[in-house]
Structures are given as C-alpha cells and as structure tokens.
C-alpha cells in the first residue's frame, strides 16, 4: 500500500488540476492533496498518504 508524501514542484499552472486529479484518483486515495504557488509562478503539488511504517519507504502494495 502506498505511503508517505509525494511532492512535485515546478508544475505549470495549466497542469495543476490534472496533477491533483490524478493523485486523488489513486487507489487508495491520499489523505490530502495540496497545491502551493511558488515565487516563480509554478506550483508545488503535495499528496499525503498515510505515514510509512518503520524501516520502509513507499511500501509495496
């Protein structure tokens, strides 16, 4: 099962909704999806899934 936080920066404004929608459509869905505008006009999209268990990194499904 997917875990942890995934962050993509330098997302053009025109692609933010698509990026968010693709994260939200994940199975299982993330706990949250947020977009923050950066000073250069692009966005950072962050998807938070449940925290990873100890000693694992984005554990296999």
């Amino acid at each position: 099962m997917v875990c942890g936080t995934f962050k993509i920066n330098k997302v053009p404004a025109s692609d933010v909704k698509m990026t968010e929608d693709l994260f939200r459509a994940n199975k299982p869905p993330p706990n949250s999806v947020k977009s923050v505008k950066d000073p250069d006009g692009t966005f950072t999209v962050t998807a938070e899934f449940p925290p990873c268990p100890d000693n694992t990194k984005h554990s296999p499904s």
Binding site: K7, I8, D21, L22, A25, H58, P60
Partner: protein, 301 residues
Amino acid sequence: MSIQHVSAPWTACAFIACVFLGGCASGGGALDGYAEDPEAADTLPTLREQYFGINSERKYYDEKDAEKRTSIRNETVFNRMRVYDMEFSRLRRGLNASYNVIAVGSDLTGLLLNTIAAVTGSASTKAALSAAAGGIIGARGVVDKDLYYQQTLPAIVTQMSANREKAKAAILIGLKEKDEKYPLGIADQDLARLNDAGNLSEGVTSVIEESKKAKKESDATIQGLQASSYAATTSSLTLRAWLYPGGKVDQSRLDQLQGWLNGRPDDSLHGLPPAYFVSSDEAKFEAARQDALKDSSLHIK
C-alpha cells in the same frame, strides 16, 4: 604591604575548599541562583517525621468513617507531595550551585590567586598561591571533560520537571475520587512514581527516550518523502494525455498503469502513485515510462 597577611598556604587551600563546596559566607543563595527558601530547612524534617514511616498511616487505617478517611488521605498525600517538591527543589538548587561554582568560580578564583601570588613578597606564599591557582585551573580542565553533561543538565532538569508534573497530575486526578476508589495504597504507588520522576537517572533516561522518539519521527518523515520536479518529456506528456483524456481521469487506465507498476521487477515502482510516476523527472522513472509506452498490454497511443 597589607597583602602580606595572606601568608599561610592553608589560607589559600581553605579558600579553594570554600569555593568548591559552594558554602562561602553568604554566597550559597547567590551561587545556586535561587532565592532563599524560608520554609525548607525547618519544615522538611517535621513533615518527614509526620507523614512518612510505619506509624504515619495508622490514623488513616484506624479511621472507619469514609469522609474522614478521605480527608486524612488527602492530607497525607498532599504533605508527601510537598516533601517531594522540597526535595526536588533542593536537588535543583544543588545541581545549579555546583555547576555555577565550577564554571564561573574557578575562572575568577584562579585569576585572583595568581594575582595575589604575583604581588606578594614571600617566596613560600607565592609558591602556595600559585599551586592553589594551578589546582583550580586544573580542576576546571577535568570539569571541561564533562562539557556534554554541563550543557545537557538544564535539559535533563527540565525533563525531570515535566515527568514530575505528569506524575502529579495523576495524583490530583485520583484525589478527586473518594477514598474507596483511590485509597492511600494506590496513591502511594503514584507518589512513588512522583519521587522517581525527580531523580537524575530518570531524567537522563527520559531525555534519551524523547530524543529517540524525535529521531524516529524525523526518520519516518525523511523516509516517507519523495520529491522531484515536474517532467516535460515526451513520455510523461504522452502518459498524462492517456490518463487524462478530455480533462478527466480515465480511472481504468490509471488502475491499469498501477497494476503495471506493481508488476515491474524494480520494487521501488511498486505502490508508486501513477500521478507521481508520470510527472516526476527522476531518471529511473523516465526509463520506466519508455518501457510503459512500448508495452503493448497497456495500449498507449
């Protein structure tokens, strides 16, 4: 010169002892950094005698009336807490005083003794005072080896205080209950925890545990974070267009791509959100995207 009266070697030695014991003249209060406690010295022995020991609980156990029994319990517990508070305050004062005496006192005292030795006329006095000054500065060298201890002492004491507050809270909650629900025997166990919380080794253990916990949380955050920049390669553009035709997610294609990722030999792709896979500029994902485009089972056009 009037300085000649500092002539006996033991005068200097007595001065050193005085500094290290932290009990010179009226300096005790100033060295520990706390105001004088007007109560502790006289009250503590009386409270100890009255509320601790085998006979201190006789009145409680002899009392048959529930209300009165609760009242005796409260009085006993509050006064025992008071004793533990006083003892903890004394410990803190002692730790603070010893730290201040060594850290500040040794510098100033060493300097003073060297100065006196330099101006005094007697050779024996010079020798004695220089040796005394050397002794103090040497002692400071030993103390510097415990630098970590000195620097962490405030954190340990703070942790001890926090542990005590936690233990106290449990007691105060218990005291809201009648004696039948929170008898003195149970209160005693909580009081023992309060007493234990006020010792140094418990404080050190707690600080270590808290540090381990913080590190664990920090490691989990680092382990769980994957970040990259938005990819604008042909493969990523093609895959995004395939997953998001007409401005909507094609769920079946997304699920298909997830299944494909989970079946790859590279286990770092397993469980990876397709949204991240198609948009990350990490090199390994670019290679995998190329594979996906070539894989006829996905029917990507």
